[in-house]
Symmetry: C2
Subunit: 304 residues, 2 copies
């Protein structure tokens, strides 16, 4: 793989940044990968496991001389970081991010960047329920999609370089405008997460069904919800606060649909239920055929 | 493993029955396992893959001489089967089932069974999104729970034998009364399934977010819903129609909770969201510690 950047600076060292560090090293996509995290403890862990070529105590030191700076912090923290690093950015540097919402990030970050910096937001659609610098691994992005949002960047080369980096880390790359991104993600990610959190919260609340029963009998469906409801709370709080309109719109649609199914149960309309459940099977097949999930029963939890 | 039954008859040859056939054979829990399925095609497939010692063309032939008969048909079909087989049951035979609801099955089946038959309903909490006679495998029940519902059986030996069979197939066994079972399952299984079906239906409906986008970008959370929304439509229709009250109760609770989170998003109450999302993480930890799920990131879809 050709080297694309000289020095890449990762700001924030969670699951995505640590996976990027491994994936960049895997095929030598940059000469040097450096990092910064706000917490002393995170920086210490990153140093202990040798995550980057260098871990700095300040974001300013990390971005100095970098030709690519990637903001890997929760969406709500992006603006503070942008203000902090802006004066230290190298002329012509590319700034990107990995946030799960794009319009709010553009609004928060772009205005603080110096003229000549290229801001190319991106969003890798990959993750696990784990977080922190130890949770990363080089294969996280393999075969997954990364959405690049070129809305406000005038420099084609800057966009193409960032896309080449993501391809080099194993991703497929798509371009999308910020608003469409936020709507698509409200459907495929944000609303499902909110619903999973809610269902787990309901189970937790029910006094008659003891905690131990909810846990013991979770294999019957519930546990698939708990995995996504175990995701990082700060990240997800920021997602909902920053993709408010699209999430509320999809939630409204969801509630309407849920009430229709609820009424079918109450009125014992078996045909409606059967038709509905038959239709949803096709989507699952599409996902497996598109290589976005495994067909192994139970996600490969069991031998087939 | 000691042989527990002489002849076991499986009525219905889907995922659970075919897994039982393999699991019983694995350690010789019965001398003979025979089967019946309503559809010609299913019986032919079962014969082709050598699923049982014998596949019969009628349920009556299958249950004749059996000391254990297990009804492995959708809940809505239990009564018809019970009426059909009742006259052919051997004196003192045990009848069980594997339905996902228990009160409705007891009401539908018990009244048709002859005096002297022992009815011991059971519910193995294991499954995958696949169905049919080819989908079964011996390990499906290993380490999972099977709930035995002894409400209406007066014969301790019949209950203990059935429990020994489930343990022999790899399950942990618990006893529970029918109503409590139906409530626990409404929380851990039935409501999560309905919600997953709904979310997948919403995604399918949204014209602006093309099918292809929903599928391509599903790794961001949505795909975990599609697995459970790919489950057998007939089985799930019957579950909701037959556990109506408990499901509607938990759905009401779910909606109330969802509206609280929706309001927190609308009013930008970040603290409420963060607290809520933090609480739900603990449940996930409990499930992994209880051995009911893997801690591998993404259910082991990716290397860690």
């Amino acid at each position: 793989m050709t080297q694309i950047y000289d020095r890449v600076a990762l700001i924030g060292l969670g699951l995505i940044a640590s996976s990027m560090a491994h994936a960049i090293k895997r095929t030598g996509l940059a000469r040097e990968v450096v990092g910064y995290a706000r917490s002393d403890e995170t920086r210490q862990i990153a140093r202990d496991i040798g995550l980057c070529d260098q871990i700095y105590d300040t974001a300013v030191e990390a971005v100095t001389g970098a030709d690519l700076v990637v903001l890997c912090v929760p969406v709500g923290a992006m603006e503070t970081v942008a203000i902090d690093i802006a004066p230290a950015l190298k002329a012509g540097a590319t700034v990107s991010d990995v946030g799960s919402v794009k319009r709010a990030v553009i609004d928060a970050v772009a205005k603080h960047l110096p003229e000549g910096a290229h801001f190319v937001p991106a969003h890798p659609l990959a993750g696990t329920e784990h977080s922190g610098p130890k949770s990363g691994f080089a294969e996280l992005f393999d075969g997954r999609w990364c959405i690049v949002v070129p809305d406000i960047c005038q420099d084609d080369q800057a966009i193409e370089n960032l896309e080449a980096l993501w391809r080099g880390m194993g991703s497929h790359v798509d371009r999308m405008d910020a608003d469409h991104h936020d709507l698509v993600l409200a459907v495929t990610s944000h609303t499902p997460h909110l619903i999973a959190y809610t269902m787990v919260g309901v189970a937790d609340d029910l006094g008659r069904v003891t905690d131990s029963e909810v846990i013991k009998y979770s294999a019957a469906g519930f546990r698939d919800f708990t995995r996504i409801a175990a995701s990082d709370p700060t990240m997800w709080r920021d997602v909902f606060l920053n993709n408010k309109d699209a999430t509320l719109e999809i939630l409204g649609r969801f509630t309407e649909e849920l009430f229709a199914l609820q009424r079918a149960i109450r009125t014992e309309d078996g045909d409606m239920l059967h038709d509905y459940f038959t239709r949803t099977r096709a989507i699952r097949r599409g996902i497996v055929e598109a290589g976005q999930d495994t067909d192994a029963p139970d996600f490969g939890r069991v031998k087939s």
